[in-house]
Amino acid sequence: MRHTLARTAALCIVLACAMSIGHPGVQAQQRQDSGQWTTYSGDYNAQRHSSLTQITPANVGRLAVQWIFQSGVSGRFEATPLVVDGIMYLTGPDNYAWALDARTGRQIWRYRRQLPEGLNICCGRVNRGFAINGDRLYMTTLDAHLVALDARTGNVLFDVEIDDHKKSYTATVAPLIVKDKVIVGIAGAEYGIRGFIDAFDANTGKKAWRFWTVPEPGQPGGNTWSGDSWQRGGGSTWVTGAYDPSLNLVYWGTGNPAPDSFGDARLGDNLYTDAVVALDADTGTLRWHYQFTPHDVHDWDAVQVPILADITMNGAPRKVLMTANRNGFFYTLDRANGELLRARPFVRTTWAQEIGRDGKPILLEANRIGPEGTVTCPDVGGGTNWMSPSFNPATGLFYVTTREVCAKFYAFPQQFQPGHLYWGGAVEAIPGEPGYGALRAIDPVSGLVRWEFKYPRPSMGGTLSTASGLVFAGEEDGNVMAFDAASGKNLWRLQTGAGLRSGPMTFMHNGKQYIVVASGGAVIALALQDGR
């Protein structure tokens, strides 16, 4: 078997060399059809919809564990592994990373980063995965660097700073390869960073462009920030975006303004926080933006993965971008210009009555928070969060893990101090009301929920759709599950023993389709026992 593996690897080098001559990013995207998983969301359109059909609603009941990889590292997995030519590339907590034999789960190499002391990390020492381009892997790090590794050895090819971790910049996002560039986002809004999206030259690691998600005075949008609040305005970009090659636009979600809750420190709409921005892939120039939550005081980052699809609305074909937002509304936008086509709540929302014709929310009293506290739905975790949704073009449904929880929000004045949490508020759980979760299938044309499958607890697991008509999802009490994509009927499940936080993925190797999930410190590969 070693022999086969070595040969596959050798083949991979030849292919990779051939590919790096053309537009490697586009090549990477095309590989998805050959049963590989080459980018965070599976494809540029971020549908997390695989063309693989070996596992079907009829046979999914026979899905069985093929191997389990125990990482031995504490902390949780939030990464989606990549699989290229039989090798799985995976990142974990504390910037550990591995290459595994995708057939057996056996380790090929392990990368471990020496992280500096005193990093300011608000919400988990996690990482969301690699990007791959030819025989190079790219990973962002908790100390806000971009590292390129050699895919066959894990050796470091280059290591460049994205920004200064001493200014509380940190990075957890899986990069996105577009043509000859590596596009990355940043985190740290809870510490009052000023957010951005960066592009680096994939070969040299040289900075190609930067888009500031918080504009300075004099720039468009600069007047949506009072005083000098823009300097620490937040707007993190910690989840991977999508790309439309025909429009040459990169779509990326942006996070909450800082301070999270004390909005009086930053009067105005606070562009481009809690928005999706459409950037020219070559220059980083802003083409359009849509802000979901103007002047947010609930920490409702809009870093959900935006899904691109071509669908029919009112009898006309539309190129759309769809997203279920942390603020509890589902949105369908025209992705050429950002025009709002549909917005409807997909969970209980008490902060806005609806999204008006002008694209702005019509606010309710429960949106206002102060030192006395206000109960608002959804809670700080949101109607959904960073977990990946998926979309099946055949059913026309958008599959997303949702959370039905409310919370009591407070706001307090707070002086900014570098290196200190810049929250300006607090959140209390509501005694006796822990809430619940559900997998929901949303029709992006009407914005209505077509079916749901309830979970006893609010969950944070991603979803995967396959062309055979299946949806895979994970929940907080440890189940990985398969559902009929049209009806929502549960067809298969496995109790893995730890909450599932990252998105399931699938690949084909040696004629066998695998489903892969991370659970606790382990990665689990599933397939039909006899391969059929």
Partner: protein
Amino acid sequence: MRKLTWWTMAIVIGLAAGVPFAQQPEPTNPVQGNAQAIDQGQQLFRLSCASCHGLNAKGLRGPDLTTGQFVRGGSDSQLFRTVMQGIPGTDMPGAQFSDATPDQVWALIAYLRTLSGPASEEEARGNAQNGETLFWGKATCGQCHMVRGRGGRLGPDLSRIGVTRSRTALIKEIRTPSGSFTDGFWPVTVVSRDGRRIRGVRKNEDPFSLQIMDTNERIQSFDHSDLREVVREKSSLMPDYGADRLTDAELDDVIRYLRSL
């Protein structure tokens, strides 16, 4: 500020290696009374602790932290360990949950110290001996609760409750237990396909199965697919102890008893 002092390192290494804590020199808080650290501690508390301990640390799901008394030990090093490691087997998570660094934990402790004045000890009321008699007798608490290995199983063990809950929280739990429920004790009624109803407290649940202890203290496991319904009760299996069942003076006695354990 951010640099680790040698003994902070020693604690961390000691903890990691399972070295008995007492062998280390007893560290004290390097930022005790430091205004900046207290401010940072307050921010951290609001972000990572308020959801359980309440915004003013007066207690919600977690205990009141303003009484000046800590069951797990009130010295700097003991508090450091509690917050850094959490309390295994309880809801209290370790610093891994909040991603707090040792410096931040010291800042949190500096903040906690400002909440409890030295003389904040609540006035002693009630009589522990009367309370004990009531608990095991007329008030029937012992039918559902264990104290030091004696008593019923339907409700939580109360051997330590007097020190992990504030007086206010205890009064609320006893007078009106139905507002919120302890994890592992949510009241449910399971309705089988043939209409049989089984009452109990929920031990665990996922989308497919449910584990309960029924009112006869039997542990039962069900598949949701075999059940007609799972009714999530609004009222606790514990009765409301209004003034008619337990006078204010008797309540003081019971609380004094629980506090004395």
